[in-house]
Symmetry: C2
Subunit: 252 residues, 2 copies
Amino acid sequence: MVGGEQGSTGAFGALAAERGRLERTGVAQRVAEVLRDHITEGRLAPGTRLSEEALGEALAVSRNTLREAFRLLVDQRLVVHELNRGVFVRILTPEDVDDIFTLRLALETAGVRAAPRAAPERLAQVRIALAQAEAAEGRGDWVAVGTADLRFHQSVAGLAGSMRIDDCMSRLLAELRLAFGAVPTAHGLHEPFLRRNQILAGLLESGESDDVEVELTRYLDDARRVIVTAMRAAGPGAPPGPGPAAVTSERR
Amino acid sequence: MVGGEQGSTGAFGALAAERGRLERTGVAQRVAEVLRDHITEGRLAPGTRLSEEALGEALAVSRNTLREAFRLLVDQRLVVHELNRGVFVRILTPEDVDDIFTLRLALETAGVRAAPRAAPERLAQVRIALAQAEAAEGRGDWVAVGTADLRFHQSVAGLAGSMRIDDCMSRLLAELRLAFGAVPTAHGLHEPFLRRNQILAGLLESGESDDVEVELTRYLDDARRVIVTAMRAAGPGAPPGPGPAAVTSERR
DNA sequence: GGCTAGGGGTTGTTGAACAATCCGACAAGA
DNA sequence: TCTTGTCGGATTGTTCAACAACCCCTAGCC
C-alpha cells in the first residue's frame, strides 16, 4: 500500500517480490488493518460510528494515531469522514454496487484483453485461485469460496500486468465486501458463479479473447443483479450481523 | 471527495445537488490543495523532500495538521511516504508512465463503449473540453491546451457514467501531470494530439464504437511513447523547472 | 579498504489543552 | 400544535510540547 518504489531488482529478483512483507508498519497502519478486518468481516456494521475517544481507549492508542489510521481507511473507502461529525463505517447503496461493477468490468476486461500477452505467473495466479475455490467448495466452506472468488477476479484483472490496475481492483473488492454483509453467504449464491469462473478460465486458456469478453460481461451483469436485488430485499435498517459492537454507537 | 451521501431528495431536490458546495473544508484539506498545486505546476520538483518542520513553519500549521495533509497527497499519489524518512514529491519513472497508460486505456475504453448509452450532459462535456482546447490553441496558450486535453480525456472516461471511474481518472491524470515536468510544453508536442482529439470526438458522435476503440488505442499508445521517450531523453537528474524551493532539501 | 560504533537530525507517537462545531432539548411565540 | 430561538453537553479540529524510535552520516578502528 505504500507504493513508491522505483524498482532496481538486483541479483535477488526473486526476493524482491517479498519486499512488501517486511515493509515496517507504524502503529497507525496496524490499527487500520485491525479495523479493516473488523469491517470487511462484518463485525462492525455499516453505519456504525467510530468514536475517536472510545476506539482510542479500546485499542490503547492516542487520538492522533487513531486519526491517522482513519485516513488510511478513508483512502480505502471503507469509512466515510464527515467534518466535525466523525467517521462512520461506509454504507453501500445499491447505486454504489452498480458503480463498482461498472469499474470492475472495465478492469477485468483490460485483464482478459491482455491475457494473450500476459506473463505466465499471472496466468498461474488465475489457475491457483480457481483451484482454491474448488477445494473450498469440496469442503463446503462457502466463505472460503467467496474469498477465492474475489482472488480469482483479482488475478483476472491482474493479467493486464499493471500495478495500478491491481491496486484499483483490490480496493474495489474490499469495498464490495461491504455489500456482502447484506447478502447471506449461501451455497446457492456462490455455486453458479463458481461454475462460470471455470468456464471463464477455460476460455482464457484457449485464447478466445472475444468469447471471454462477452462471457465476462454477462457474468458481471448477473452478479451485479444478484447482489443488488439481495440488498434491496434485505432493505435498509436490517444489517444481518449480530451486533456485538459495544464500543461504538449507531448513526442517526 | 467525501462521497458517502445516501440521497433522500425531498421537495428540494434541485438544491440537494448543490450540497457538495457547502461542504466545509478543514485546514488540512486546504494545505493539501496548496501543496498539490505547487507540485502539479512543477514548483516543487519531483524528489524534493517535504520536511515536516520546515513546511509546518512555512505554512504556519502544526506538524499534526501537516501530516494529515500529507495523507491526502499520498492518497493522490503525488507524494510518497517512507517510514521514518518522511515524504517526498513523487518521482515518476518511465515504467510508471507505462503503467498509467495501461489503466488509462482501460478507463477510456469503458467510456467510449458506454458512449451510445451515455447521458447527453456527459457528451456535452466532451464537446466543451474540445472547444476549450481549440480556443486555447487559437490563443497560442499551450499550457491551457494541455489542461483542456486532460479534461477532454477525463470526460471521455466520464461517458461511462461511473463516479468511481471519474475518480480513478482524475487521480490518474493528476499523477500524469508529474511527468509533464520532464517534457517541455511545446507546440509540436500538443498539436498532433489535438487533431486526434477532434477525430476521436467525431467518431464518437457518429457512433462508430469499434472505430473509436482502435483509434483510442493507437492514440494512447503514441502518447505514451512520446512521453516516455521525452522522459528518457531528459533523463534522471535533470528536472527542467527552475528550483526556487528553499523550504526543502533534495533527496539523496 | 571495509566494518563497527556513535552522534545529529528527523520522524513516530503520545497526552493534554483549547477552540469550533454539531446535536438534542427546552422554552417562547404565533 | 407547530415553528423558531437559545442553551448546554458532547465530539471533533487543531495546536503544542515532549520523548522514543529510527535513519543516515561520519569518525575511528581493525
